[in-house]
């Protein structure tokens, strides 16, 4: 058991080194994204301020609280981009027969799929995430004590796995459809709209689905409400960060089951 964990982490470490080398091979690419991604989120967030200034708040959340929520959402988005972005492109893996390679190796296939690719360009999303989040923390007077830091870590790990699990579930559909579809655009659009704004602005039926069926509410909304003490929107107060972590584990477990069901239908490339 111990030796296999050691083996898995050593493989991951080697791939991580390769990813870093790739970034240095094409520095211009990284620099391009370094401008593009922060710009997208920071300008996006700035324009929300114009509206909030006019109306006062969105669904009872003021600008500082919105910054906290928005920042937290971008950070977990960035982490999911680093570790799980390949879920968006699973169609290409299926059509081009890339799973052949993984299945021949004496390692868990899902593990290889998730942890032998590192999209370090995702780091360019972390920067605006941290900026907006820190701004939000200052605005709402968030205290970085041990309890809050542990809670934040639990939320971020849970949120990253919820996102990653959803990407893999959507991506696994290509085992059945055999289509080369890029799910990135609408997956990101959907997550952006549901994690960066208070969930309470949506109708109750949508809130119900995003709380219990596809637990996206636990990516940022409920834990943020709890950490800032917004009792109106807090749900399961006291344990929301733990529920985020649990939801992450649950979504990822479902994703693993669907992934392996799909893998049984995998037929490799045409010839």
């Amino acid at each position: 058991m111990l030796s296999s964990i050691k083996h898995y982490t050593s493989v991951t470490w080697e791939y991580l080194k390769l990813s870093i080398l790739t970034v240095f091979e094409y520095p211009a690419n990284m620099i391009g994204w370094l401008i593009s991604n922060p710009l997208q989120f920071i300008v996006g967030f700035a324009t929300i301020q114009f509206v909030v200034k006019e109306f006062g708040d969105i669904s009872g959340w003021n600008y500082g609280q919105l910054a906290f929520l928005y920042g937290l959402a971008i950070i977990s988005h960035a982490l999911s981009m680093i570790f799980f972005v390949q879920g968006w492109f699973m169609g290409f893996f299926v059509i081009e027969g890339d799973f052949d390679r993984y299945m021949l190796r004496p390692m868990n296939v899902l593990y290889q799929f998730c942890f032998t690719h590192f999209n370090l360009i995702g780091i360019t999303d972390l920067i605006p995430g941290i900026c907006v989040f820190v701004y939000g923390c200052i605005q709402v007077g968030f205290v970085f004590n041990l309890r809050n830091i542990v809670a934040l870590l639990a939320i971020l790990v849970g949120a990253t796995f919820i996102r990653g699990g959803v990407y893999i579930i959507i991506g696994s559909s290509t085992f059945w459809t055999k289509s080369v579809a890029d799910f990135g655009g609408y997956t990101q659009e959907f997550f952006d709209k549901t994690t960066m704004y208070p969930l309470s602005m949506y109708p109750e039926s949508v809130q119900f689905i995003l709380t219990f069926v596809i637990p996206i509410g636990w990516v940022s909304f409920y834990p943020a409400a709890e950490l800032m003490g917004l009792s109106k929107d807090a749900f399961m107060p006291g344990v929301a960060p733990l529920i985020s972590l649990g939801a992450g584990a649950a979504v990822f477990a479902v994703a693993a089951v669907i992934f392996y069901m799909g893998l049984k239908r995998y037929e490799s490339a045409g010839s």
């Binding site: 211009a28 391009g32 994204w33 401008i35 593009s36 289509s179 655009g185 709209k193 602005m201 949506y202």
Partner: protein
């Protein structure tokens, strides 16, 4: 005369291609609907305690959202991707040898795609928006006519901007991040999501000097009847000037870019 027949042929082929690859269409509708519904609920939450803000009612904001989403169908051009792929593969040289203008081909391809999208995306989006959000009634019949005029010019401005941008592909290898920057700036600073009347005055006056606001904001203002007729006519004039300016810029850049490619080819 011959070249017109050739362009028409390109146009027809692109429509047929769009109709054949129709599975992209559902993805697009899904994405546009997510954006449309999220925006509608965003405005609903904001207007919860208000009736009129900046001279605009909630109902007008819902119409704004539906029309803005529907308008996005007009701005799904391929010209940048098309040039990028051709330069990468090297087929650009062969395409330039053809006895008709290179960008003429791309323009008619985009028109063909747009024609197919009017049926595949625009109508479904308008239907879904009308049923679930608001029936997008224009402010008046006159407003609707002016909207169409303005929308055509908006299409030209957006296409010419994209064509000018696409010439970067002749000098840089990977311009995907650059295209992302442009896409986000247009989306955020053209009034497509948040109208310019909420922006601080200094920023709004800067943006009024750039072509972006003439892509979404002006046609939308006309549609919901946000400004006086004199103001709208004046802005339509500025919009027309932008079309001409970008057209000149495009012609100049094309001359330079063509030389650049020849150097690389030799």
């Amino acid at each position: 005369m011959n070249s017109i027949a050739a362009y028409f042929y390109v146009y027809k082929i692109r429509i047929q291609k769009s109709l054949a690859y129709h599975y992209d269409v559902y993805g697009n509708i899904l994405m546009q609907c997510i954006i449309m519904f999220a925006a509608a609920f965003f405005w609903r939450a904001l207007y919860a305690g208000e009736t009129v803000v900046q001279g605009v009612e909630a109902e007008q904001m819902y119409i704004y959202t539906v029309i803005s989403t529907a308008m996005s169908v007009f701005f799904m051009n391929d010209v940048e991707q098309r040039v990028m792929r051709s330069v990468e593969k090297g087929t650009i040289a062969v395409e330039m040898l053809k006895p008709i203008n290179l960008y003429g081909i791309f323009f008619f391809e985009d028109l063909g795609k747009l024609t197919a999208l009017l049926f595949q995306n625009l109508i479904p989006i308008l239907l879904i928006g009308s049923i679930f959000i608001a029936v997008p009634k224009p402010a008046s019949a006159m407003a609707f006519l002016l909207f169409i005029v303005s929308l055509i010019m908006a299409y030209l401005i957006h296409w010419l901007l994209a064509a000018c941008f696409s010439m970067w592909a002749f000098v840089t290898i990977n311009m995907t991040p650059l295209l992302q920057v442009k896409k986000h700036l247009i989306r955020l600073l053209s009034g497509s999501i948040i109208p310019l009347w909420f922006f601080p005055d200094w920023l709004a006056s800067v943006l009024n000097c750039l072509p972006f606001v003439y892509i979404y904001q002006l046609p939308l203002d006309i549609y919901i009847g946000k400004a006086s007729m004199e103001n709208l006519i004046l802005r339509l004039g500025i919009q027309a000037v932008w079309v001409v300016v970008l057209l000149v810029l495009f012609v100049v850049l094309q001359k330079i870019a063509v030389k650049k490619v020849m150097v690389q080819g030799g």
